[in-house]
């Protein structure tokens, strides 16, 4: 039976910056808008104008729409109404809000991905200020954080958010669904300047090929030039066993992440704070990523109130070779960033090693010594990596060698 009433969006005492739309399209009576809104005095007229404009866009002449608004921004109202419309009529039209010019940027392969903030794709209130928290990346999630019955409307909301939310320079990421739905998701996001797509529950390189083909298809159709990078997430035993193959699955893959909730479930063990049960998987993934020349990224830390435990978790993660971690709360961002960046001691030690190495080279010595310790070439290489990282993070001047007082030299 054909649906006659459509509902989209959310309302309720705890809902903010969203609205719920109940729409009935009729064959007579014109457009009737019933608006309940806490911002009615200030934005009542503009909401009604927007609704009228959207009906006009979709060629709808007769409809009754009830809007229960908790301060939704225009792009949210537009997304909710479009979702409702598309439940009732078949159309190829998309009502696209303007694209913020601040969001027209691309990213590079080797940029830092220490912290990436997950945002549930159907919760607009969390999106509006997400860019202010200085995450390296922001992920609009269409997968696990969206209820199955809300998947369709989340796509439209995420599409509008990509156009209207200022990401403030963070890498613009979307986590798509698995399988067929994931491939469809791409059509809602790729045209709106997504820098990176996360692929959940990856177990083989074949799905990556499919995703890549789909993206290439969309890009060539719309003549899009910017890179869309990929980050597979490995969340199962099979995925771990195939991690190297996955990591090498495409030249667009820049990082591979591990998802430990699903992985431990797959193993039938519980996830502990200590993480013994996932030690093999984590190190295996790190090795696979390093072998493929991409960034290994660790699982999120789910206790958002325990910052001390997060700090410890990051230290372990870094010591295993990970180069970043997901965040589920903005307050985790500074701790994760700080944790993955080299600390003062590491930088000082590395400086000494490099200086000793340079001095030995100058003297034509084959063997480098620092104090009583001999320094092998890999030690020098590691020190150089830390120095490079520190320079890129502005923790150290690129000209640091010449800024050291001559005595110390």
């Amino acid at each position: 039976m054909k649906k006659s009433v459509a509902i989209a969006g959310n309302s309720g005492p705890k809902v903010r910056s969203d609205c719920e739309i109940v729409l009935e399209i009729g064959s007579g009576g014109g457009i009737i808008i019933e608006l309940i809104s806490k911002v009615k005095v200030l934005y009542g007229e503009s909401i009604k104008n927007l609704v009228a404009e959207i009906f006009d866009f979709f060629g709808i002449k007769h409809a009754v729409v009830k809007i229960n608004d908790s301060g939704a921004l225009p792009f949210v109202i537009a997304a909710r109404l479009e979702s409702a419309v598309k439940q009732l009529i078949k159309t190829d039209l998309d009502y696209l809000p303007g694209f913020l010019k601040e969001n027209s940027y691309s990213t590079t392969r080797d940029r830092f991905r220490f912290s990436r903030l997950y945002l549930p794709g159907n919760t607009p209130g969390l999106m509006i200020n997400a860019g202010l928290h200085s995450a390296d990346g922001i992920i609009l999630d269409l997968e696990d954080s969206v209820a199955p019955e809300k998947k369709d409307e989340a796509r439209i909301l995420v599409r509008n958010a990509l156009r209207q939310i200022n990401f403030c320079g963070a890498e613009r990421m979307v986590r798509i669904n698995q399988g067929e739905r994931g491939l469809e998701d791409l059509h809602f996001v790729i045209p709106h300047n997504v820098n990176l797509v996360l692929l959940p529950k990856c177990e083989s390189s074949e799905y990556i090929k499919q995703v890549e083909n789909e993206i290439e298809g969309i890009k060539s159709k719309l003549n899009l030039k910017d890179h869309v990078f990929l980050m597979p997430i490995i969340e199962s035993a099979l995925g771990i066993e195939n991690s190297f193959e996955i990591a090498r699955g495409s030249e667009n893959i820049v990082a591979v992440a591990i998802g430990l909730e699903d992985y431990t479930a797959d193993l039938g063990v519980s996830r502990t704070a200590e993480g013994k049960e996932s030690f093999y998987a984590r190190t295996r993934l790190v090795v696979a990523a390093k072998a493929a020349g991409i960034q290994p990224i660790d699982s999120v830390f789910s206790d958002v109130t325990d910052m001390e435990a997060l700090k410890q978790n990051v230290l372990v993660s870094k010591s295993l070779g990970f180069e970043g971690m997901g965040c589920i709360h903005p307050r985790q961002i500074p701790i994760i960033k700080q944790g993955f960046a080299p600390d003062g001691n590491e930088i000082e030690k590395s400086k000494k090693i490099i200086l000793a190495f340079e001095a030995a080279k100058l003297k034509g010595l084959g063997v480098v010594a620092l104090g009583s310790k001999m320094i092998d070439p890999p030690v020098v290489a590691r020190a150089q990596k830390i120095i490079d990282l520190a320079v890129r993070l502005d923790l150290l001047s690129s000209d640091w060698m010449n800024e050291i007082p001559p005595v110390e030299k």
């Binding site: 903010r16 911002v39 005095v41 200030l42 503009s46 307050r331």
Partner: protein, 519 residues
């Protein structure tokens, strides 16, 4: 009859008469200086009171009758029991049953628990409220349903109005967590402890009749005597003066909102980088979630720098108490305790000292405590391009908050308003505030999650943060940024009828609130 209005020094159209009494339009900061002598209450004679000192009567009703409660009288109460107050409503319930009409309720603040007084406004027991209007009460007044015109005053302005004789309290009904039969009373002890009774001082000193209501009668003397029994006419003992968990929050909580935390972090960073935060600094912050987070961040900085704040002025919270206990704060001077840790601290820590607003905020005090504060953290519902602030109405025109100590606190050295740039969709920075509560010349810095605006009058502060990396913007830039996201809001529509007057700290009328036009 339409009232005659004039344009006051802030450019607002205000009446020359409110509730049949002449009023003075706002003249500017520190301009209005009344002369003559303070109002004084009637002269009592000690021999009229029981020789054994026992002033306990059988009931609140008996006390009210003995006070001679009658039509048109002014009844005052304090708000130390906050949302757990069981006494104020009872007074009007009794008055209503006695058939008394046209009372003026003069609370130091009202809370959602006071919403039942709407019944007594409706049935004519109460003519008007001169105090704060929250929630449904604010709505009631904004819709023009109150018979008289509301008068909104700051905590200090309330004391000024009493001392100027502008408000003459006939009966002060003062709830006290602990009292003795002579009427000495304090804010600690018993099951309804609220910490301090700072707001009751002007009431008991200047009211014609004073009733102390307690649920914890102790042997004389009740010490320390926050309310001195020599001012008290009657003592009433009841089962319960309040609901403990609503009097003080068991624990005040810092905000969990990432955006508010960002604002708090930016505020602390601004205080540090501008040099306002330094060794010996004096601090006042409120009990809102953002203020508490600021206190935590400031505490961290003090600790790391090995600095110590000379003193903080309360509303105290556990976060301020922590500074005191860990040695980053010398003293807390306190007008009210917001949580159980603070109540405990007042009882036990000799450096945590009650300090009534009677002294701290009073326009007629010989000196102003708030002008000694280096850091003053305040809120606002709206700020305009001239840094004028509004705390009583929302952008939709409805009265929703009292002034509290806000106006009084504007006299601090650095007045800082950490506020979100928009709440839901409602921008906080507007062209012109809906209701003017504080002149922009006294508001120094607006800190939002999207940037910091410094009042151009404070070139020193602007200079101090040059090159600091802080996101300094003009207030116009902030407003434009909010409107780019939210859209440009329409303005609420008002009728001509004045439903409330907003007094400045000196008793002059700075603005009025008009009846909302329902569309």
């Amino acid at each position: 009859m339409p009232t005659k209005t004039v344009i006051n020094a802030a450019g607002r159209s205000v009446p020359l008469e409110i509730n049949g009494q002449p009023v003075v339009p706002y003249k500017g900061v520190g301009k209005h200086k009344p002369e003559g002598r303070k109002y004084s209450p009637p002269i009592p004679t000690c021999s009229d009171y029981p020789e054994d000192g026992n002033k306990v009567v059988n009931s609140l009703e008996e006390a009210l009758r003995k006070c001679g409660i009658g039509d048109g009288m002014t009844i005052s109460t304090h708000h130390h029991l906050r949302d757990g107050d069981l006494v104020s409503n009872k007074v009007f319930e009794l008055a209503s049953a006695m058939g008394v009409k046209d009372l003026i309720w003069f609370p130091s603040a009202s809370f959602p628990c006071n919403d039942p007084v709407i019944n007594y406004l409706d049935n004519g027991t109460i003519n008007r409220i001169e105090g704060s209007m929250n929630g449904p009460l604010g709505r009631y007044v904004s819709e023009g349903r109150m018979k008289g015109t509301a008068v909104l005053r700051s905590h200090g302005g309330r004391v000024q109005a009493i001392q100027d004789g502008e408000v003459r309290i006939d009966i002060a009904v003062l709830a006290a967590p602990t009292a003795d039969s002579f009427g000495n009373a304090k804010g600690t002890g018993g099951t309804s402890a609220c910490g301090v009774l700072g707001y009751a001082k002007a009431d008991y000193m200047y009211a014609s009749k004073v009733v102390v209501v307690t649920d914890n009668l102790v042997d004389l003397p009740c010490v320390p005597m926050e309310i001195e029994g020599n001012y008290v006419d009657y003592v009433v003992v009841v089962d319960k003066i309040g609901i403990p968990e609503k009097i003080v929050s068991g624990t005040t909580q810092i905000t969990k909102s990432p955006d508010r935390l960002l604002i708090a972090e930016l505020t602390a960073s601004f205080l540090e980088k501008s040099g306002i935060l330094k060794d010996g600094v004096t601090i006042q912050a409120g009990a809102g979630g953002t203020s508490l987070a600021i206190a935590v961040f400031v505490h961290e900085i003090l600790k790391n720098k090995r600095w110590k704040s000379k003193f903080g002025f309360g509303g105290s919270t556990k976060y301020m108490v922590k500074m005191l206990e860990e040695g980053q704060m010398g003293f807390i001077l306190d007008a009210q305790a917001f949580d159980l840790d603070s109540v405990k601290s007042i009882e036990n820590n000799p450096n945590h000292v009650p300090y009534p607003v009677f002294n701290a905020y009073n326009y007629h005090s010989k000196g102003n405590l708030t002008s000694l504060m280096d850091i003053m953290i305040l809120g606002a519902t709206e700020v305009d391009l001239n840094f004028n602030g509004n705390v009583v109405t929302h952008s939709d025109g409805y009265l929703l908050h009292g002034i509290g100590g806000w106006q009084n606190c504007l006299h601090a050295r650095n007045v800082i308003l950490p506020i979100p740039l928009f709440r839901d969709r409602i921008p906080v920075i507007v062209d012109e505030v809906t209701t003017l509560c504080g002149p922009g010349e006294l508001i120094d810095v607006i800190i939002t999650e999207r940037g910091i605006a410094i009042n151009p009058l404070r070139q020193d502060l602007i200079e101090s943060v040059k090159g600091s990396g802080l996101p300094i913007k003009t207030i116009k830039e902030l407003k434009d940024e909010a409107e780019k996201i939210c859209g440009i809001p329409e303005k609420p529509q008002f009728e001509d009828e004045i439903v409330a007057a907003v007094k400045w700290v000196d008793g002059t009328v700075i603005d009025v609130v008009r009846k909302i036009k329902v569309r």
